[in-house]
Symmetry: C2
Subunit: 209 residues, 2 copies
């Protein structure tokens, strides 16, 4: 299987970490996002939404969207499951992953894309041009800070974001925090539960993927 | 099972339609969003994110987030599956549902919440106050229009959004279109595939849920 990837982007990193945890090897194909390769005719055929990651199966079938790719990988190699092994565990995992995506990663994207100098006219990923909205960048930073407090609360009662086991929600959380760190939104010093969790997650070999 | 619901809101409608398609009866508990019941102490215990829907199981366990709730319902009553019956079908369904959520429903939320008079200071769902950003409302409208074109293209080759079978992605699409219609973003007259699909989906009894 081939993964259209970009080594510096947060979304494909989620899939790389997921594959590393599963012990799955993917052939990584770098897409040069910084130079606009995703908007070129060649990549538009691979994904008309002009974003990575995209998983390409050996028969040529392509799957985009991080959650869909990860769920597929979990199904073809069920052990260890990163979505949970019972209906309730899967519900909790999907629930927490959705919260990290919507409240965390989307906010982070708003915070970054609406001020980055290289993204003028590309405030959103995808083929259509959208001007940056500075107020949205500010709102994004505030939302990330609020969400860090929520995660800290959550992790006061559980070892991992979705409960007692490592899951895709932890991968989404790790990528969120590393992205936030890069734009100088650190984990607050007094968020001890989140600090403890981050240390444990980054100690796993998959965090280097 | 109990569903904390609001009969006029788009997100819980997705779960109501899903349950209707599965033939599952849920005890609906109305939460008065218009009068701020979701911010009250009582509901904050049910969901600290202050949003509906929330599914409450008979043992008191609560699940929030539409995707998590629907996946859970699909697992406890697998026939007919609204996520697909093979790993590839499930991947395609999750992929298309994510596109409808991110490109369609999120845009629609931006378009509505950033101008609605009753939502000043509540431009985002949840307990934290955020001022409206008028430019974000405009961007949201434009994104919905663009996404309608994408859906029309997609439906030129398939009967349903995720492929050859009705799925949660169609439910998400239906709720998007009805919400957009309400704020006067109609399906374009020349989007014949989307019109055909919408007619078929609204003819199903579940569309009244």
């Amino acid at each position: 299987m081939k993964l259209y990837d970009c080594s510096t982007a947060p979304s494909p990193r989620r899939v790389r970490i997921f594959a590393a945890e599963k012990g799955l090897e993917l052939d990584l194909v770098q897409v040069d996002l910084a130079n606009g390769e995703q908007y070129g005719e060649h990549f538009r055929v691979i994904n008309p939404d002009c974003v990575v990651p995209v998983l390409e199966l050996d028969d040529g079938t392509r799957i985009s969207e991080v959650l869909a790719i990860c769920y597929y990988l979990d199904e073809i190699k069920p052990e260890p499951s990163l979505f949970g092994t019972t209906p309730l565990e899967r519900a909790e995992t999907l629930m927490w992953n959705a919260k990290v995506e919507q409240q965390g990663l989307m906010s982070m994207m708003d915070a970054f894309r609406n001020v980055a100098k290289g993204l003028k006219g590309h405030a959103l990923p995808g083929p259509d041009e959208f001007e940056q909205i500075p107020a949205l960048a500010e709102r994004g930073r505030r939302r990330v800070e609020i969400f860090f407090r929520r995660l800290d609360d959550r992790l006061s009662t559980t070892d991992f974001i979705a409960g007692g086991r490592y899951s895709i929600a932890d991968i989404s959380g790790l990528v969120l925090i590393d992205f936030a760190k890069w734009v100088k939104i650190p984990i607050p010093n007094d968020a001890g539960n989140l600090q403890r969790w981050y240390k444990a997650i980054t100690a796993r070999p998959s965090a280097k993927a």
